[in-house]
Symmetry: C2
Subunit: 572 residues, 2 copies
Amino acid sequence: MANIRKQPVLRMSDIYAPTLKEDPSDADIESAKLLVRAGMIRKEAAGLYTFLPLGMRVISKIETIVREEMDSHGGQEILMPFVQPAELWHRSGRWDVYGPELLRVTDRHDNEFCLGPTHEEIVTDLVNNELRSYKDLPKNLYQIQVKFRDERRPRFALMRGREFIMKDAYSFDADEAGLDASYARMREAYINMFDRMGFDYRVVVADSGQIGGNASEEYMVLADAGEAEIASCTCGYAADTEAAQATPHPVAYAADALTKLETPGVHTIEELAAFLGTTENACVKALSCKAADGTLWVLFVPGDYEVNEVAVEHLLGEFTPLSDAEMKDAGLVKGSMGPVGLPEGVKIAADESLRSIERWLVGANVDGFHFAGAKQGEDFTVDAWEHLCMVKEGDACPKCGKPLSIARGIEAGQIFKLGTKYSEAMGVTFMDEDGVEKPFVMGCYGVGVSRCMAAAVEQSHDENGIVWPVGIAPAHVCVIPLSGKPDEVTEAAAKIADELACAGWEVVLDDRDERAGVKFADADLIGWPVQVVVGKRGLKEGSVEVKPRATGEKQSVAIDGVLEAVEAALNV
Amino acid sequence: MANIRKQPVLRMSDIYAPTLKEDPSDADIESAKLLVRAGMIRKEAAGLYTFLPLGMRVISKIETIVREEMDSHGGQEILMPFVQPAELWHRSGRWDVYGPELLRVTDRHDNEFCLGPTHEEIVTDLVNNELRSYKDLPKNLYQIQVKFRDERRPRFALMRGREFIMKDAYSFDADEAGLDASYARMREAYINMFDRMGFDYRVVVADSGQIGGNASEEYMVLADAGEAEIASCTCGYAADTEAAQATPHPVAYAADALTKLETPGVHTIEELAAFLGTTENACVKALSCKAADGTLWVLFVPGDYEVNEVAVEHLLGEFTPLSDAEMKDAGLVKGSMGPVGLPEGVKIAADESLRSIERWLVGANVDGFHFAGAKQGEDFTVDAWEHLCMVKEGDACPKCGKPLSIARGIEAGQIFKLGTKYSEAMGVTFMDEDGVEKPFVMGCYGVGVSRCMAAAVEQSHDENGIVWPVGIAPAHVCVIPLSGKPDEVTEAAAKIADELACAGWEVVLDDRDERAGVKFADADLIGWPVQVVVGKRGLKEGSVEVKPRATGEKQSVAIDGVLEAVEAALNV
């Protein structure tokens, strides 16, 4: 992994990396705190950040990885204008559709432009009349560029800024089969990229109900701060929890006939199970809502599951849960709803898993009472059977059956089959083999470059600071002499730094005249993957300490074994 | 010069490089024509261009050279926002001063911003309260970024666009001596950069009269399309012609006394010298103008020189040459002005060189007449002696005395001592060694990255296309098999391409099924430094042709000598 060429040793006294002891007052997420404190980014205004030298080194590494993988998977780098003529957006129809996130600008001659949030229009116009024949296809053009989206409420620093660095790629093919091949190549490139960045991530098939087909995949970096929840399996399956399917196992609560039970003060499933000394999956949970057409529905799922709102939307269209007042008006009893004796016109939907439960333990539509033994087809009838449960930890993977894990994730990349949406809207065609003019079949492929930097910090940090993955760390090793003034310690440290640099590693020498505590704190905060600590006492015995940042476990190493120990710590 | 690593062979059939046979109708300069025709750039709107893959390769090479030289001369790369808050420009006082080139933008919350044309404000604000002590200095922060200037009339494609790529650097020092050292380092970096880009260029000391001291140097790439005229010497001296000093050698026209000569129809120096059978430098030329204070002046220079308007401005302040009507009103005679018998109140300035000419051959202020023998101090008096001549080819170098050359140049870079202009205006200070808060002493250093690409083409092209310097060529060698279908020719060409790539060269294989004429024309147009032509006839004798683009001289080379011949052509 080391470069062949000798790297220059960086000196902490030279580097512009103003570290801070205090958290910035407006930091609303760990990466915002740590990147600012580690002297890697600075806020200029809401959603506008400057990358300082160490931050820029991380960005450059991410860009290099992205560039190399794009180039080796058929991508060709271009650079399109950031300021885009409105005329193109009129042609695609997006000028009027795109919201206020599209920042519009008028130039000195009163011509309208916008700051590019994405480049489908420009790239489609670019190939117009220049990619003329099916023989010129496929082509994949990409750029790495600053984008602008005028977010209403920019927040989470690099996670949801207004100006951000993105790699966007666009593929042009003659037909769907061609697009499939281009898409598959990008998929491979993306997996390589995120592997090389050292991420623990999941490839999530986007909710197919909304987009259609396997037309989109998201690359989600697992982190608590993630905006999405993902169900995934060791077999490789992963899906947004709203798109994944739960596998509930409800059980029957023993009752031979419809029996009204007095359940004073019981309003939740937890209370019901406890009151009756049974398990939650023996109870049936109810939720009321109003469909787009005004019909009232009560939805039933096993007591140990939550309702998946996206699944309900697929069934009913846009719906709204009923408020307490609406429930009262409709004659529904909060905390005791059930399928038996519902008001006229209220419909019943139930999760598929409840088909197997003949008699339900469920609300009696009277406060303080529940029914046991409510029988399907006899005491009540279900109007719609659907998968309505939100997937949860331990549900069976739909691919292999093993238990699923649930985690939050940050979207770091997305690949997408556009089809002919833009080429048709803008009338951009090529001559196919059969002599017919056809619109290009397009794909688009994005990576949030600056977002990857934040995602890495969200995924990999501790109470002392950042823990950079080796592949995108601002440098590999920090050599820390426990002395600032020139002496045998600084001399030995410089020599070790030089030796590591000669082996191709990127080395920082903390040559500042600072206390050991300050140097240690900064090294932990900045998050160099490996620290080499050179002290007077160790030197006498011919040894130094090597500390991998991730484990924090210091190891005493003989001076002539430093390179080996460092490379072991870097997991070469 | 070759990289150690094997390069992948690029295939012309893959590369998105739509070459054009016809010049684009709106191209107003050679580089605009050739870069578009060679499939390297495309115009999106006035002053907005897309860089296609081959153009992007050139840009990347320029960026790499700039980055490496900045990094090895104390620069640290950062990235500041493109969209800048108006508030900072108010603090520096430039919001109201900067003209309509500053494109102003209002965001969704009605906050004002501008698209960055330069970054002095942001970078000065950035270091505020973070570079606190003289111990933190010097620092040099740079970025490579797209800038925007809303030019009234964008033209010459990449030479004067609205959106363009620039490297801008800013140095921070404690005092003038520190700035001098930072400036000297940048000077060295700039010379290395432009050497590595393969430019024939001059380092021009900017007009010291206007800026003060040696506070600025411009790096001018010599090319006919340049906007500036430069006088330079082999000793290294170079200056804008308006700042350089001429060395006229006027001679006396023999006459013992003031003699009025009848010169019918003579109105120019050329006509006067021919009429009298003498040389132009024996005549004295006159020009009339009005100074800022309203005084009328007649300026005299030797007949073989032109007046340097900047020199006149230094003498008189803002001035305007008189129109024919104004001359008539003032009693001045066009084509026959002289120092003897001028109207009352008209003042006389003369070039220093004329001091040595006691008696002048000059206009008589009467149409059709001139004076010979007009004597200084007797027939007329000079009010101001100054250097008023425009330098010309062959004038003596002020440094070494050798003859100067005159050429046009394109400004590719500039280094500039800012001093405390921005740090004072914005109140940004550090604590100096003496315990006193002082404003930073700053320098700024720019390179027009995309402009360098155009300058290279302006300097290096012929009627067939671009002739890229090796250091920034999109690739080093193009291997051209004179066959498109797979056969022994394409096989041999692929083998040669692979061999060259293994040696670390960037190789393009023109594997297209096109006529030889098309391949040759495209290779010349795109301007790869070396072409290797593989044909059936040559192969039979075990040879191929190697053609350096610059000379066009084809050379037959044995197949096992191709690498050597190519490297010789690349001047390794």
